[in-house]
Amino acid sequence: MAALRLLLLLAAAMLLVVASRGDASGAAPRGRKLLVLVDDLAVRSSHSAFFGSLQARGLDLEFRLADDPKLSLHRYGQYLYDGLVLFAPSTPRFGGSVDQNAVLEFIDAGHDMILAADSSASDLIRGIATECGIEFDEDPEAMVIDHINYASTEVEGDHTLIAGDDLIQSDVILGSKKIEAPVLFRGIGHAVNPSNSLVLKVLSASPSAYSANPKTKLASPPSLTGSGISLVSIMQARNNARVLISGSLDLFSNRLLKSGVKKAGSKTRHEKSGNEQFVTETSKWVFHERGHLKAVNVAHHKVGETNEPSMYRINDDLEYSVEIYEWSGTSWKPYVADDVQIQFYMMSPYVLKNMSTDKKGLYSTSFKVPDVYGVFQFKVEYQRLGYTGVSLAKQIPVRPYRHNEYERFITSAYPYYAASFSTMGAFFIFSFAYLYHK
């Protein structure tokens, strides 16, 4: 009996420890279980370097054939995976319960995806990409051709192996270390709508590229040309789900990862292409190992007080603070920037102010409530390239003065006070004199 009780106690203690540790470190923004769908299990070995880098970072991969009849993304209302690697460009339909909508719902539920297409891309893959805001060239035979910026190989080919070096300028997406060597790409190009703010071109084609069938002569001008062609794009959905779409599955392959590269017309030959660094860094971004912000501990109070009031009064002085952290892949690190702004908002911002940071993640500022009453909001809208959006809104009413908060006596009104009291006195004396003076 006693032993049992002891055991229970121990268990409880252990639970407590676990719970407190979870609190201290903070949970990762994403789980680590990925589903890799492939056309052919050979991909597993031909792209093993990429998968190896994922596994080395602690991601748990589950390889399945795309048409596996037992394929399912969720069970009992719970998603089984935290991310999807879709290396099955030519699969006409998925097996099991998975279809295009299932994949899109997976993303809309806040999960991430890497999608690689190929010149053999099926309508299914194209459809998923379209839903993510990316249009592959409609010509099923087309590939991206670049007669100037191609990777020179031993045999003079059709210039479809592109040596791309037009990368997006973003440390958060591509890592702080610059990618020196060109990225090798062989596959189909796509276009993104410039007005679509959710999609970014990570690797763009050079101005001399065009998308056409390399085996036939051009009958008409190609629909996609120049730097309008995107080779690799990313999409961050409004719920911060991240999707990377590449027109080339080879980009991730061991062959291109390991090969050296010499750009046509260039003298320098890189021993190793930029692919490995490129796919590693972008996959870190996609699986939220970088650029994921969280805002916690929003606090506001009057200057000189610590309790959060349920309502402010006009012209109160208040302090607002919020802590913002970035996930580094292993832990939450303070996020440091000087452009985080607070809005005190009622239909339009009445106060718009940069917050100062203590470099430990705490952003704070103080300001005076405007002389307008109404239902205001503390708004922090922080949207930066590559980072997840921070969007905080907290409603707070601002009331006018209470009846006893106005000045009791106004200095400039003293003549009036004097006038009224002297009139009263005079009237009293007059009445007295009138009534009793005979």
Binding site: E135, R238, Y373
Partner: protein, 787 residues
């Protein structure tokens, strides 16, 4: 009719005067109690037929405020900043509400709870209006008694207790300002007339306090502060100036204005707006007249004439200066110093021309002729007789009644809502008319009967004379008084001073006997006349009971209809509000047309964008614009206001006529008034709002149409709208930015939720590929709506 019986009962008891008076007084008190019970109980039909609920729209707000008051106390109420209405502007309730009703009900609630009677706030609120209608009929008794004696007073009180116009605003549950304001109005008039009759400063002070209560209760107090100056002016012009008028008026203006300025919602308006200027002007004139009459007493006629010319020149100069300043001040303000509602009183077409938000309220429309017969019934015929009776003789008090009636008739012709102000005036004058008619008829009956009796017993002429005088003294106190006042004009000094009157009374009987004889009617005629009047009164009572039971008891949140299958109850409003309060987050914002704002905050406890207070035209116009815009534009407007749910009222399925489609023209007009891209002609086909096949495309694509008729065709397969009486124009359509979340049992209230922004942005395909992609193709090729 009770008091005629009282009179009849009093007549046989031909006891000595004092005992008879005491007996009459007791009877009168009992009659008044009965009138009070009648006034209270005739208003309970709504509770019996439906249930004990708050009615309509504004009462819900008052109820909510009373709840707040009873929970948080008066200081919190005074400083209440309500963040759940007019999001995101909020509303300072304490400073924008007439607190009289709330404080009254709050005090009653506090009192009964202090007496350990555990009534809920709602119960108190429901029964406040009937209680105060009893008070109002007593106040009417007092007022009419001051003018024309007890008989007329009792008559008027009984008539007012059941006048349909007043019932319509004071049935149990109709918890609105007018409920207490009519009592305050009549009581203020009573105290004014009382002061006028007695010249007592005590009553003048009470009058100012009563005026203060009226200011607390209702915006209609401006009627008092304009009517009383008008009457004072009338008295001055007709040469009836006396110190009693001064005492009745001057303290009222000074104390009343000071007290009125204490009410937060009035504040400096009491001295700044044009509605109050008349009282100050008359105040000045009154002083000039008082000064003149004082001087007149001091000086010799010659000196007086000189002084007169001097005063007049100086006075004219000052007047011109004041008028010039006033004109300059008034002209510099954008609305010329008048609020829209007052302007629409003076120029009935003003509102419909310039302020759609005022014109849109049905109770601000001019009444139709039938509504007079509905609301005051036979009183409309009796009132002219009452006016004639007031002129026989014309005293200060009776001239006030006539003036009150005339102005009230004018105002009721402008706004149907002000029929309520007319009702007491009509009741008083009808009471006077009926009372004097009964007076004449019963007196001649008695006289004829006694003559018959005398002839039979053959008693000498001297006894006849005594019996005639007995008849005179036999008649009730009220009759006595009418005789007095009838005799009074011949005395030339027709001041209604009590003491003087008493002297007059003693001198009357001998003189008036002859005249009385002349005005005696034949017995048959008077019997028939009495019977006819009683039948007329009977019709009135029958009509009043019918109006109270059938026409004015519906609480409007619960509707009923009778059909062959039996009684149908439509409780859709409460169903919808209950859904909102149970299924939405407590801080969610609900947008609807402003009519439903008060109910949503009170019943569903959700934040609303606009409500029945209508203080901010732009905000209402924003909602009107959203309702008359296409879906996407409406979504953007609502999203910018943080709206989560949109509520529309739709009557097309069950034939409920006051739904949002019928109110839609006001949304377009009010919206278009602020946002010119909404153009009314876009919604009109041949000058009419239509939603059938001939409707304009703008109409068929606006949000209101879509939210009302979404899935409507599924009900009967044709989409037949029972209110408009035709099939709707566009039957099958989908909503892209809104989703239906709740529709009540009879489809009377439909609630939609704003869809969130799309998580992803779809790329547009330049060409649609054939045969591929089974799902979500309809959206292809369309421009992304959020960019």
């Amino acid at each position: 009719m009770a008091e005629t019986e009282a009179d009849a009962a009093a007549a046989p008891a031909a006891a000595p005067g004092r005992l008879r008076n005491a007996f009459g007084g007791v009877l009168c008190a009992f009659t008044l109690i009965l009138i009070g019970v009648l006034a209270f109980s005739i208003r309970l039909f709504s509770v019996i037929k439906y249930e004990s609920v708050i009615h309509e729209f504004d009462p819900y707000f008052n109820y909510r405020v009373t709840q707040f008051l009873s929970k948080n106390g008066i200081y919190e109420f005074w400083n209440w900043f309500d963040d759940r209405t007019w999001y995101p502007l909020g509303r300072v309730i304490g400073g924008t509400v007439y607190p009289g009703l709330t404080l009254t009900a709050g005090s009653i609630w506090w009192l009964v709870n202090a007496l350990n009677i555990p009534l809920s706030v709602e119960t108190v609120c429901v029964f406040t209006a009937p209680i105060f209608s009893a008070f109002a009929s007593w106040a009417t008794y007092l007022l009419t008694k001051e003018a024309k004696g007890t008989g007329a007073g009792l008559m008027a009180a009984a008539i007012l207790g059941m006048v349909p116009s007043y019932i319509s605003r004071s049935v149990a549950g109709s918890y609105d300002n007018e409920a207490v304001a009519i009592f305050a109005l009549v009581f203020t008039f009573y105290l004014y007339v009382k002061t006028l009759n007695t010249g007592s400063l005590f009553y003048a002070t009470l009058n100012a306090l009563s005026y203060f209560y009226m200011v607390c209760s209702w915006g209609g107090y401006t009627f008092i502060i304009n009517l009383i100056p008008m009457h004072v002016l009338l008295c001055i012009v007709t040469g009836r100036y006396s110190s009693r008028i001064y005492i009745a008026y001057a303290p009222l203006v000074i104390l009343g204005t000071l007290l009125a300025a204490l009410v937060p919602v009035v504040g400096f308006n009491a001295v700044l707006t044009s509605e109050h200027f008349a009282s100050f002007l008359v105040f000045i004139i009154l002083h000039v007249v008082a000064f003149v009459s004082y001087i007149k007493g001091l000086l010799t006629p010659r000196l007086y004439k000189m002084a007169m010319t001097l005063v007049i020149t100086v006075g004219m100069a000052v007047c011109f200066a004041v008028v010039a300043i006033l004109v300059a001040l008034v002209a510099s303000s954008p609305t010329k110093g008048w609020s829209g509602r007052s302007l629409s009183l003076l120029d009935p077409t003003y509102a419909s021309k310039y302020i759609p938000i005022i014109a849109s309220v049905s109770e601000h429309q001019p009444p139709t002729w039938p509504s007079y017969f509905m609301d005051i019934n036979v009183l409309a015929f009796l009132v002219p007789a009452g006016i004639i009776s007031c002129f026989l003789p014309l005293s200060d008090a009776s001239s006030f009644m006539v003036l009150y009636l005339v102005t009230a008739v004018y105002f009721s012709g402008v706004m149907v809502r002000l029929m309520l102000v007319l009702a007491p005036a009509a009741c008083i004058l009808s009471g006077i008319a009926l009372s004097s008619a009964f007076d004449v008829l019963t007196r001649s009956m008695k006289f004829q009967l006694s003559k018959l009796f005398d002839d039979g017993s053959a008693i000498s002429g001297s006894t006849e004379a005594t019996s005639a005088s007995t008849v005179n003294t036999n008649s009730s106190k009220g009759e006595n008084k009418t005789e007095k006042s009838e005799a009074a004009p011949k005395e030339k000094s027709s001041k209604k001073n009590r003491r003087k009157e008493k002297e007059v009374t003693e001198s009357v009987p001998a003189k008036s006997k002859k005249e009385k004889r002349l005005s005696v009617l034949p017995l048959e005629a008077s019997v028939i006349g009495t019977l006819l009047l009683i039948i007329l009164g009977g019709f009135y009572v029958v009509h009043c009971v019918w109006a109270a039971a059938e026409a004015y008891s519906a609480p409007s949140i619960v509707l009923t209809s009778r059909s062959r299958e039996g009684l149908h109850v439509f409780d859709d409003f409460r169903e919808a509000y209950a859904w909102l309060s149970h299924n939405t987050d407590v801080d969610d914002k609900v947008a609807s047309w402003w009519d439903y704002g008060y109910q949503t905050t009170a019943m569903a406890n959700r934040t609303v964008i606009v409500d029945n207070n209508t203080w901010n035209n732009t905000h209402i116009a924003t909602v009107g614009t959203a309702m008359s815009s296409p879906e996407k534009a409406a979504w953007e407007i609502f999203d910018s206001l943080d709206v989560k749910y949109v509520l529309v009222v739709f009557g097309g399925l069950v034939g409920y006529p006051s739904d949002d489609i019928n109110k839609f023209l006001w949304m377009v007009r009010i919206g278009g008034g602020e946002f010119p891209h909404i153009k009314e002609p876009d919604y009109l086909r041949d000058g009419q709002y239509r939603v059938d096949a001939q409707a304009t495309p703008t109409m068929l694509n606006c949000l209101m149409y879509k939210l009302c008729y979404y899935r409507f065709v599924e009900t009967d397969g044709k989409g037949f709208d029972r209110v408009r009486g035709y099939e709707i124009g566009k039957k099958h359509f989908k909503l892209t930015h809104f989703e239906e979340v709740f529709t009540t049992h009879h489809w009377m209230v439909r609630i939609y939720k704003l869809k969130p922004q799309k998580n992803r942005v779809r790329a547009k395909l330049r060409k649609l590929k054939s045969g591929s992609k089974s799902s979500s193709t309809p959206a292809a090729g369309r421009k992304n709506p959020w960019q």
